[in-house]
Point group: C2
Chain length 202, copies 2
């Protein structure tokens, strides 16, 4: 084995982040589809690779393993134009990466998982999730009021991390028409990454 292996679920924004970065930077990889819904991340075989039982997981050509979507992106993209060189801009990028995992993914990705992948009716989904989703989108919309990108007015890992689930907001039950700056930014980042839009037609 001479290349990067990515174990990922192609329905997961966290996993797609890694694919987006590898594709953009021209890094060759082998994708091993690993279903979260089917609990393929909880088999003894997978847990031996990543005890946290989470995808994405990358295995380098020499066998070393790395988990956590944002850590993998940072590893692959270091030295590229996706990581600011200015120390404070880098710090702001980190700020948004941690905010994404703590306050955004835990709302939008989790609500999407229950609604779209587990097909639960709204009444069976934790009612605390919807206001948390709305708050995350409002914070993003305000930040984008006078900005084109999240950090330093150029595409960075902060945008890639945040777009990963934001572009699937409708599958979490949210209509981005309420957050127009976010909607326009999603289209911009999808275009920058060469992606077919995931947004529903208006």
């Amino acid at each position: 084995m001479t290349q990067l292996t990515i174990s990922g679920d192609s329905g997961s924004g966290n996993c797609l982040k890694v694919k987006f970065i590898a594709d953009r930077l021209g890094i060759p990889y082998r994708w091993i589809e690993t279903s979260v819904v089917k609990a393929e991340t909880r088999t003894a075989e997978f847990l031996a690779l990543n005890p946290a039982g989470q995808v994405p997981l990358v295995v380098l050509a020499d066998g070393r393993r790395l988990a956590q979507s944002n850590a993998i992106m940072l590893y692959l993209a270091e030295g590229s134009d996706l990581v600011p060189t200015d120390a404070f801009d880098r710090a702001l990028m980190f700020q948004w990466l941690f905010w994404e995992q703590y306050s955004h993914e835990t709302a939008i990705a989790v609500r999407r998982y229950h609604k779209f992948f587990l097909n639960k009716p709204d009444t069976e989904i934790d009612p605390a999730l919807m206001p948390k989703c709305e708050r995350a989108l409002a914070i993003m919309n305000d930040h984008l009021a006078a900005r084109t990108y999240f950090v330093a007015e150029r595409l960075s890992l902060a945008d890639v991390a945040l777009v990963a689930y934001t572009r699937f907001s409708h599958e979490a039950g949210l209509d981005l028409a309420h957050w127009p700056k976010v909607r326009a930014w999603v289209q911009r980042i999808e275009r920058d990454l060469g992606l077919k839009t995931a947004l529903p037609a208006t």
Copy 2:
């Protein structure tokens, strides 16, 4: 104002991370005590500084603001011996920083908040939190089975981030005697950081 300002709650592990790093690196700062329980992070004045309504928040001498504990640590510690220079070791440090915020803080810090700060009886605390705490500690204990530090066998930001709430595990209702490698590592990191131990006597 010519120095760093840290707005933080001194009961919060996330806020103490920033204090530990500034103290260790000899970075002068002014600490502005900001209580989470008293909702001082949700006043209009604070939200104007950090729309996410979270501490810690640092304000640099020139007025620029930075949020998210792990992002602040990275900013302050870049170039120090707390951040590995090897690219893969850095990536592993990032992996643990993101895991800490996603899978550890959301279990141990949250259960501690409800139990210790809000004084809720166990029956009123989300029952999903305890197994999540135990799983996080088990992952750490296994990782430390043959290691002294989390990454590259030396103190890094990964240890500082993870120790911040682990040392208060008993306030979350957990007895580290069940995870002896974790307990020994907490004592090691507290000693490295020059802290009086937060662990209860055995």
